[in-house]
Amino acid sequence: MSGLHQTLTLIKKDVLLELRQQYAFYGILLYIISTVFVINMMMGQPEEQIWNALFWVVQLFVSVNAIAKSFMQESRGRLLYFYSLVHPRNFIAAKLLYNILLMSVMSIITLVSCMVFLGNPVTKFWYFIGVVMLGGISLSLLFTMLAAIAAQANQNAALMAIMGFPIIMPLLMLLASVARTAFVTVYQPGLSNMFILLGGMDVLIVGLAMILFPFLWKD
């Protein structure tokens, strides 16, 4: 089997698993809706700046929860089985792509539920959708790699939060400031630079994941 074919098969397997045991998907769905609903009960419909901040915080927690299980659902035996079948690079590529897919869906759900429960202060809708997608992809890439590391450290979910939150902060800071333009017309001189930096960080994360994951898997 060629590398591309292996990767596609692995993605297909993950999607199939997701479709068959839907508890994970509905679990996260419930997680999103209840989080947003709690915010709604506490502060009604917040102003745009707070809306933006809360949206990204919800995104952060959703991505941690959605992606943490991508390695935890695999038992040791099954990982060993994959190890004997595919190259680790194809395996991590499949995980990255699958998580991008998953987070894109989750991002849309978060966005819709935020708009329903917390009001809609977004003025440039399509721009914001673009930023949300970019954010979802960035978060999923970074957390996939961290989930792989945490899986090595005795499948510790708390560890993922400890490692992940400081590392994700530069990304979130960039995303929140890039998203600001979608709410009010503000003058942001370095906007295109920030997009370049975000894209650059994504490329960096993918590159590092591709290079480092084979080492991580060598048990």
């Binding site: 450290a153 490692m163 590392i167 370095g190 930096l197 960096l204 590092l208 080492f215």
Partner: protein, 220 residues
């Protein structure tokens, strides 16, 4: 003895830094007054921290190349001492901010991002503590270390320069170098950062020796 000349140099340079740093006549830069002297203590801490984190990441890369546990000791010790210098840099910076910005912990991007950078490296130590198996700990933490270093560069180097900050040397406020007409600041600054960096490396070598003794049964 010939091997230890740089330690003597470190002591001499630091003595010079402390004595000259407090006595030399410095140019008064806007409202900084005498707090400009913090340049001799605050900035070298970061240079020393970067040096140590670079040593750490290089050793992590070398570890992944050969799986030599000695390299892991080098990497973790360097990160440890780097955190110490990072904390000192943060404290000296906050002290300076208290008198110039009017607040110890402000929401200045430079201060926030360095706090985050330190948290990334503290997480590295927590990760190390959470794995008991020596080889596995070395492997997993080396990978995280490379990741952390890759995130450190945009976090402390690129982002603070892109956004507005009150910190000297950022996008909107000029650094001190342009105001240093007599060259007195730089006369102390260059020896200062060499001295502090050498001190950092010295502490690092001591820590490596201590760690090696701790694990001497493994290395024979």
């Amino acid at each position: 003895m010939a091997k230890h000349w740089w330690k003597a140099l470190a002591v001499l340079l630091l003595l010079y830094t402390i004595i000259a740093g407090f006595l030399v006549k410095i140019p008064v830069i806007e409202n900084n007054e005498q707090s400009t002297r913090n340049l001799f203590f605050h900035v070298p801490m970061w240079i020393s921290m970067y040096t140590l984190f670079t040593i750490s990441v290089v050793n992590s890369l070398l570890f992944l190349n050969k799986y030599d546990l000695r390299k892991d000791i080098l990497a973790s010790s360097a990160a440890n001492v780097g955190i110490l210098f990072g904390l000192m840099g943060f404290v000296t910076g906050s002290l300076w901010a208290t008198y110039t910005w009017g607040g110890t912990i402000t929401n200045d991007p430079k201060q926030i991002s360095t706090a985050v950078a330190l948290m990334i490296y503290l997480a590295y130590q927590v990760l190390r503590m959470s794995i008991n198996d020596l080889d596995k700990r070395a492997r997993v933490s080396a990978i995280y270390n490379i990741f952390a270093f890759a995130m450190l560069i945009p976090l402390t180097y690129i982002i603070p320069r892109m956004v507005d900050s009150l910190h000297p040397g950022s996008a909107t406020s000029p650094g001190f170098k342009s105001k240093d007409t007599d060259g007195t600041l730089m006369m102390v600054f260059y020896p200062a950062f060499t001295g502090w960096t050498l001190l950092g490396v010295w502490i690092y070598t001591l820590r490596v020796r201590y760690k090696r003794l701790e694990l001497k049964n493994i290395f024979k």
